[in-house]
């Protein structure tokens, strides 16, 4: 599947989960975007301006980077740096459609088994050498090489062959049709390197819109505009300075005092405190990331559908969104197919109204007339402890007596404990398409089937959605999946997280994306 369980040791799974699920989304899917309030959208007017009108240096506060080799990056700051030094073959636009980047055009042939990409002309690496099809072939062969044990090896295990079929033409041949292959090609790691690069961790030789001029680990990385960038007029900035902050409070203070221009990682409270700050725009959008409240359904008490329903009926999702996320993000509907997946999300099946009495009644019928005592396990990160406390109060009204156990992530995810416990809260990062969640979390044989959910109809629909090349059929399968999860899924998804940003109003053209790492600074520039 999309995860690389057989490559990494079992004992590293917890680490990978923390990295992959919680902090990181493998491909920052571009959701609804929102330009800064006073910033007019970058329209045609720009081309009327004379060329080389680059102005402004954007100073960005981010967490320090640890990895610089694109094959190993994972945090949002690492992806942010790589995303501007290198280019993807294809990118994803705000409406979550695949758009050209280095590949200007492509054809899908042979029933979805062959993809032929045409590369842009005149693309140069920062060292002056031209981009050729060989570079793309070498890049993806490296990413899928099982010997190198890269995180992407599993993702690309479906690729049978990659060939340079022309100076600027690359052909990918797949083993099985994969409706999401183009999204997979835009995975965070899939930045095109020069063929035979040996020292990607230190050399920064990309084709991207910015060149690295200096990098002081744990301090800052300074980028200047690549004047030979293959898209004319881009980037619009003279340069980008990424200043490393370990503490989000310090980063926000630096923004307030004008030492940095942009902050993208901060708590809801900090974000709220910036709302009335003069000279600063705040932006927020919902992402596809969510907290999953799940009940094990293969043993008591979760093996009784009435108990599952009682939990759902006792939950007030809107109140949770208001309390735990302060209203930012979006209300969940117990399915990982969130409102940002506009082509798949459906509100056709109503979520039953909160009904404490009905929940009590169901519990009583299920054999718990005196109520149900259960421990709720939660990692100590993000809003999860708060979520646990709010759930405890809501459920108590229905006779579900929860004992909250707040655990460090190393304990919660350690020794597969999170897959073992009856009732738990797990954070899942934003993904570019919903199939991932269904495949690794909810299918009967899924590697991380934490709720131990096993439903033949659901599995069949998931397989259909994951392999069908017929978009209508796919959408229909996703719609039914949402209905099943609302009706009998042992999961509650109360909300989807928000992604925040705060930027100095001196800049325009900034678009916020669900995964901060995939933010595109090419269009940002200083306001006249």
């Amino acid at each position: 599947m999309k995860v690389n369980l057989h490559i990494i040791g079992r004992n590293k799974i917890a680490l990978v989960i923390m990295l992959v699920l919680v902090f990181v989304s493998a491909c920052g899917r571009v959701g609804a975007t929102q330009p800064a309030p006073a910033a007019p959208t970058q329209g045609q007017s720009v081309s009327a301006e004379p060329r080389s009108e680059r102005n402004g240096i954007l100073r960005v506060a981010m967490q320090p980077i640890v990895q610089a080799d694109p094959a190993f990056i994972s945090s949002d700051s690492e992806v942010l740096v790589a995303n501007h030094v290198y280019d993807y073959l294809v990118d994803i636009d705000p409406a979550s459609k695949v758009i050209p980047r280095l590949a200007v055009d492509w054809q899908i042939e042979n029933d979805g088994l062959t993809y032929v990409f045409t590369l842009a002309e005149g693309v140069q690496f920062h060292d002056g050498s031209p981009l050729t099809a060989q570079d793309v072939v070498w890049t993806f062969n490296r990413l899928r090489d099982p010997e190198l044990e890269l995180p992407t090896a599993d993702l690309y295990s479906n690729i049978a062959d990659i060939q340079a079929t022309g100076e600027l033409e690359v052909t990918f041949i797949l083993n099985q049709p994969n409706p999401f292959f183009l999204y997979d090609l835009s995975d965070n790691h899939a930045l095109v390197l020069k063929a035979n690069t040996q020292d990607a961790a230190t050399k920064f030789n990309g084709t991207g819109p910015f060149k690295v001029t200096s990098y002081s680990p744990e301090d800052r990385i300074i980028l200047e505009a690549n004047k030979d960038y293959y898209i004319q007029d881009l980037p619009k900035l003279e340069g980008v300075e990424i200043l490393f902050f370990n503490d989000e409070n310090a980063a926000v203070d630096a923004l307030r005092s004008g030492q940095v221009d942009l902050v993208m990682r901060m708590s809801t409270a900090l974000f709220t405190s910036l709302q009335d700050e003069p000279g600063i725009y705040t932006l927020d959008i919902p992402t596809n990331g969510f907290d999953l409240v799940r009940l094990r359904s293969d043993r008591e008490p979760g093996d009784d559908p009435r108990v599952i329903q009682a939990f759902k009926l006792a939950t007030d999702r809107e109140a949770i969104l208001q309390l735990v996320q302060q209203g930012y993000g979006a209300v969940g509907r117990d399915s990982p197919i969130g409102p940002m997946y506009t082509q798949y999300y459906s509100e056709e099946t109503p979520i039953p109204e909160r009904d404490v009495q009905a929940a009590r009644q169901l519990l009583s019928e299920a054999g718990y007339p005196q109520g149900l005592d259960i421990v709720l396990h939660t990692p100590d990160t993000g809003g999860r402890p708060d979520l646990a406390v709010v759930l405890k109060e809501q459920w108590a009204e229905a006779g579900i007596n929860v004992e909250v156990s707040v655990e460090p992530e190393s304990v919660y995810y350690g020794e597969e404990r999170w897959l073992e416990v009856d009732l738990g809260i797990t954070g899942w990062g934003s993904r570019p398409y919903p199939q991932f969640y269904l495949d690794v979390m909810l299918k009967c044989e899924a590697v991380w089937n934490e709720s131990h959910f096993c439903d033949p109809e659901f599995d069949e629909l998931t397989t259909t959605a994951g392999t069908s090349l017929d978009e209508a059929q796919q959408a229909e399968a996703y719609q039914k999946i949402q209905q099943i999860l609302i009706e009998r899924g042992p999961v509650i998804i109360p909300y989807f997280f928000a992604q925040f940003a705060a930027i100095s109003d001196k800049f325009q053209g900034f678009e916020l994306k669900p995964f901060a790492g995939r933010t595109d600074f090419r269009l940002v520039n200083l306001q006249e």
């Binding site: 409270a269 405190s273 309390l323 100590d380 708060d386 646990a388 405890k392 909250v404 707040v406």
Partner: protein
């Protein structure tokens, strides 16, 4: 030196006279008043708290202090005043209970070890030395990691952390007393071990023990709050003051009151108990001299 208890006036009258002496020292009077006030609040808390400790109101979250919510509401819409009030009972119960248990164990072990001496004394004291070599908080974290976080674990941790300290203090007094004439006399009379320890030696230990108890108690409050703050002690949604500070720290820019009041309560109580301990020490030292 402490007198033999046989001739002492009734216990009640002695307690009152000591209390009077405590109140003669202004700082001790202040400390004792604070402590008694908190104790009263803790006892009355469940009756006078205007809201439940965990009662959430999502429309009334993050409200500044007002006549409706004296200390404001926190990020989950819980009344901070009620939580501070109800948290008083919890923290006094845990730190008080833990201290008392530790004092009981420590006194028994200290008396026995000091009086009997020999290899048993050596063994116990070396064992305690090794325990004391670890900082209290580190030892507590270690134990909670094994026991799992809960109120009972915190109680056990306090006993383990403070018993060695109390035992050493008691033992040092026993060592200076056990060679004195009245102990020798009792031994020659053929009194039982229990009689000698508890009727002859213990009264001499009591003044030191009272001071030690008060000092341990103030450290205990701090320990319970610290463990709550570190998130390894009492679990949410308990209104533990340390835990409240931890939770409010995340939203300090929005709800500073949710942090200031529990933090203030911890400081005032700890200072109060410390001053009281100071006063006790002064009284007993003057009598000692």
């Amino acid at each position: 030196m402490a007198t033999h208890t046989g001739a002492a006036p009734s216990r009640g009258r002695r307690f009152v006279s000591q209390l009077r002496r405590l109140y003669a020292v202004p700082t001790a009077a202040f400390g004792t008043t604070v402590f008694v006030l908190f104790l009263a609040l803790a006892l009355l808390g469940p009756w006078i708290a205007p809201y439940g400790a965990n009662q959430q109101d999502y429309q009334g979250a993050r409200m500044a202090p007002s006549s409706l919510h004296w200390f404001g509401t926190d990020h989950l819409g819980r009344d901070v005043f009620s939580r501070v009030l109800l948290g008083a009972g919890e923290i006094l119960w845990l730190s008080g209970g833990g201290t008392l248990l530790a004092v009981l164990c420590g006194t028994a072990i200290g008396l026995l070890s000091g009086y009997l001496g020999g290899w048993l004394d050596e063994l116990i004291m070396r064992l305690f030395d090794s325990l004391l070599a670890l900082p209290a908080l580190l030892l507590a974290l270690l134990m909670l990691g094994i026991l799992g976080a809960s109120a009972w674990s915190v109680l056990i941790v306090m006993v383990v952390v403070y018993t060695p300290i109390v035992a050493r203090v008691v033992r040092s007094v026993v060592l200076s007393v056990k060679t004195r004439g009245f102990v020798e006399a009792a031994r020659l009379q053929g009194e039982s071990l229990g009689w000698i320890l508890f009727r002859e030696i213990l009264p001499s230990v009591l003044p030191t023990l009272a001071v030690e108890t008060a000092v341990r108690f103030s450290y205990g409050i701090f320990l319970v709050a610290s463990l709550g703050f570190l998130g390894v002690g009492v679990q949410p949604p308990s209104p533990n003051w340390g835990l409240m500070v931890k939770e409010a720290r995340q939203t300090i820019s929005q709800t500073p009151w949710a942090l200031y009041y529990p933090a203030g309560a911890i400081s005032i109580l700890v200072i109060g108990v410390n001053l009281m301990a100071d006063g006790l020490k002064r009284i007993f030292q003057t009598r000692h001299d």
